[in-house]
Amino acid sequence: MLHTNTPDSDAGLNRRRFLKQAALATSALALPAFVPAAALGRDGKIAPSNRIVMGGVGFGGRGSYVIGQWFLRQPEVQFVAACDVRRDRRNALKKRIDQHNKNADCKAYVDMDEVFARPDIDAVVVVTGDRLHATAAIRAMRAGKDIYSEKPATMTIAEGQELVRTAKTYARVYQAGMQRLTERNFVFCEELVRSGRLGEVKTVHAHHWLPGFGVNIRNPWKPEEKYDPAEIDWDRWLGPCPWRPYNKHYVRGGWYGEHDFSTGVIGGWGSHTFASCQAAVDLGDTSPVHYPYVKSTTADGLTMTFANGTKMRSLGQDTWKDAAGKTHKWRGSCAVRYIGTEGWCATGDGYSAPDLSNPALLNDLNKVVQNYLLRTGRELDHVRNFLSCVKSRRETAANPTLTHRTMSTVHCANLAQWLKRDLTWDPIKEEFVNDPEANRCRSRAVREGWQIV
């Protein structure tokens, strides 16, 4: 239960420092990060000094994809640690990694701090349930690791503030899993806004899915069930969250509908779509100042207002007519629509190309996206963006500031629904205006033994 940071007491350099020194000495890193790897003339083999050694934490449904496929197929990545509080999952992750590495060297762990304490690990990817994302990220960064964390990245405003400060203090690279920030169609829409091709954009629409349980998700405990402690470490599963008796419902995904473990539907979807929207209108370092209470179980239609007057609307579906009178709708999840004085654009998952008020703008899609990539040094792959930044130490697309601020938007929106009243937020002081009760909800006490320095 105690989580300590073991000191770096190695007599010599740890492997990581040696790795990076070797890299400094070669010219392999001498090219600007945005030069495509193909131009470097690699022969397909990665020298050990160029590898990024990683640990994986959390191997459920999402982890199977993010770690098991996306990260594992990156050529320079080498996984050496598999961690999950469930035995079946950590064994499955170890097996998957061993299969890929063609050896049995990967070690299995229950305690993520042991992974973070390994001197040979450079970076970790965390795909636990939402309740542990920020806890894991902060612990990993404090141990000197870079981190890719799934979203929603924080459970409270206070967690987000701590995330930002920790990344700064320890100069860590952090990427949260809002992968649409590096997807072509979404990037193009962002650039349409920035270039002024849509005129002035003062309204943005963000999609959220509408499940049965709505935004209010504090439910009675499920009946206590027996479990085998060798199969699951329930105490560690809970982490800093309030204890409740074990019931398999929680570990089979039911946590998503529980206030103690999840930020609900607004968090699950807003973490993506608010990030896309706020990035597009360059409001990624702030949150709206006004959040209305919406008399709907799912907060459909929630319209938030930024200090500069821009409005962000959270919707289950968006329907609109174009200039010719034709009706359009969102036709994919995590959709967004950016509405300007001279046009609009919309995109979402599964779109082959964005919908545009002026389809001729699509002619420029490649040019516009190329220009964006050149300017930012990013690439159209969220994991590659992370790994490039691990090497170059640049800021990622879903960096701590954007992540914390867009999650603050989620938390403020949630609180307005939970408290059943409109809320006003001061994004400079990061506190609610004239609302001590709401301010008391910015943080949650952690369980004994889970407090981080």
Binding site: R17, A30, P220, P242, L419, S443, E448, Q451
Partner: protein
């Protein structure tokens, strides 16, 4: 079941009555039912012998949001529980209760309790405590008998982060595994809460130690640099950036983005010397963070750097310096560097230079409009054009000329822009050609005979693309060269290549794809660009050189071909 209900904005003066919900007894209510709870009923639940643990935990959570001093005693009673989850629930409520007596209550509990119960309370003291808690926490922090309490106490001292708390943490440095991180984060909190100056000595103390984990050392390095005056900070920074320890270098690079705005790092004498001794990889990364920071003085620094001799080894650094100049708003200087790097033997650098030039020349439609560009082609019909001998039409917004085997073009033909004569201008146009096509954009030409004056030449295979053609001098404006034109006599054409012509073609054109020409005509100086990269620069000293004329699109006599133009725009210079 509703989570929080309160119709009043101030939590303490709780006079409104709330209806009891089924929530308090652990069954779900229908979503949407208006409901509320009174503090009194919540307190009653806490004390009830028949309420379930679930009820009590829920009640405590609610009290965390609306509890007043009245809730304190009942919550403290829960701190004694032998059930950890009830103790946590009590702390959940107490930590965010704004009453000033909370610290005393927690301190009292910390003295009374032992074991895990005490650990939780110690944690909460960190989130609520002041200097008052420090003596107790100082006693517990080094406690080897109760490691959990010691860790919690160390963490809490870090959160309290007063000078007294920091003093209490100091003895643990080098002994307790988390003391160094606690000290560092305490210094951070002190700096944020009071001022950097107050935290400076703590960072310095940490920085001087050898027995701390490397992440803490890097955090201390950052702290020292940000909280000390320039005379002290800069030498420390220079040592770190020059270190062979990659972590020091990383921290030094990252902290550049946090330098105070008025820290003129690059203006100091030592900086240049330090920079030049760094490995290339670090130079590149440092160039980038200086650009990100927007350091005005860095511009002078990069210019000096670029004035140094070019060697194959420093190409990447020159690229980074040029790219930084672009970020600092000085693209002209960067353009020259990128142009030279097009010829790099390293394909990665040459490609990056090409993309950089392409990016530099790119302007959004809004920016072009603001710069005064006007369209020459409405995308719909030929009303803005005349002549063309019937070859031209418009389809899908594209201005097209097409000849076939049955209907070949046997005589050069020009489509003339109706917008009149232009003298000094910048014109941009996209073009696409079939393999056998031959076309060109004629300018400063005679209305009656358009096969005169200059032409930005083009053909499908690319041979002529980027050349400035003149009927009297043919391909006088060589692609990749500066040309001075005096007349037709010997010595009348002076051509100075700045890049290999074939190499440049590879950079600027792919057969069958859309490309963009840019023509800049000012006085006797003509420049051509294709896809953002300069292909020719010509100065015409002939006394009868044309100063103005019509603009046309040429259809050249020849085999069947297809010529397409779109997005034509022009602005006066």
């Amino acid at each position: 079941m509703k989570l929080f209900t309160n119709t009043k904005k101030t939590a303490f003066a709780l006079t409104a009555a709330f209806a009891l919900t089924a929530a308090a007894v652990g069954t779900a209510t229908a979503a949407g039912s208006a409901a509320g709870v009174t503090e009194a009923s919540l307190i009653k639940t806490l004390a009830s012998a028949t309420a379930t643990d679930n009820d009590k935990v829920t009640a405590a959570q609610d009290l965390g949001h609306i509890g007043t001093p009245a809730a304190i005693a009942p919550l403290v009673a829960l701190l004694n529980s032998d059930k950890a989850h009830l103790r946590h629930a009590a702390r959940y409520a107490l930590e965010n209760n704004p009453s000033p007596t909370i610290e005393d209550v927690l301190l009292d509990a910390a003295f009374r309790l032992t074991g895990p119960a005490r650990v939780g309370v110690i944690q909460s003291l960190g989130n609520r405590g002041t200097d008052k808690s420090v003596p107790l926490l100082a006693k517990l922090a080094p406690d080897t008998a109760d490691a959990a309490a010691a860790t919690a106490a160390t963490t809490s001292l870090s959160k309290i982060a007063t000078p007294a708390a920091l003093a209490a943490l100091a003895p643990g440095l080098g002994k307790c595994p988390i003391a160094a991180a606690a000290y560092l984060r305490a210094a951070d909190r002190l700096a944020a809460r009071v001022s950097g100056r107050h935290a400076a000595k703590y960072y310095l103390e940490l920085f001087g130690r050898k027995d701390i984990p490397y992440p803490v050392k890097e955090g201390a390095l950052r702290g020292v640099i940000l909280t000390h005056p320039v005379e002290t900070a800069l030498p420390i920074w220079e040592t770190a950036i020059s270190s062979t320890d990659a972590n020091d270098v990383d921290a030094a690079l990252r902290v550049v983005t946090e330098f105070p705005k008025d820290l003129r790092a690059t203006a100091t004498k030592g900086f240049g010397e330090v920079f030049l001794k760094l490995p290339a990889a670090t130079q590149i990364r440092l160039a980038e963070v200086l650009a990100v920071r927007g350091d005005e003085n860095a511009e002078g620094f990069f210019s000096i750097l670029l004035n140094r001799p070019v060697t194959p080894d420093n190409e990447a650094v020159r690229f980074a310096a040029a790219r930084a100049l672009v970020s600092l708003g000085k693209p002209e200087r960067a353009e020259n560097v990128f142009n030279r790097l097009l010829a790099s033997k390293n394909a990665g650098i040459a490609g990056a230079a090409r993309e950089a030039l392409r990016g530099l020349s790119y302007q959004t439609p809004a920016a072009e409009a603001a710069a005064g560009f006007k369209s020459l082609f409405n995308g719909k019909d030929l009303t803005e054009w005349r002549g063309g001998d019937g070859w031209w039409s418009v389809s899908n917004g594209i201005l097209t000329a097409e000849s076939t085997a049955e209907k070949p073009c046997k005589k050069n033909s020009h489509l003339i822009w109706n917008g009149g004569e232009k003298g000094d201008f910048e014109l941009r146009a996209e073009f696409r050609l079939s393999r056998s096509a031959n076309s060109g954009i004629q300018f400063r030409a005679e209305d009656k005979n358009a096969d005169t004056s200059y032409q930005a030449d083009m053909n499908g295979t690319g041979e002529y693309i980027g050349f400035l053609y003149h009927p009297g001098f043919h391909l006088v404006g060589q692609r990749g060269a500066r040309v001075v034109l005096q007349g037709k006599n010997k010595g009348g054409i002076k051509t100075t290549p700045f890049i290999d012509s074939k190499l440049l073609l590879q950079h600027i054109y792919k057969v069958g794809t859309w490309a963009e020409y840019k023509i800049v005509a000012k006085g006797n100086h003509i420049s051509l660009y294709v896809n953002g990269i300069k292909t020719n620069d010509l100065v015409d000293f002939r006394p009868n050189a044309p100063a103005k004329g019509v603009i046309t699109l040429q259809m050249h006599a020849g085999p069947p071909m297809k010529i397409e133009y779109r997005n034509l725009r022009i602005r006066d210079l």
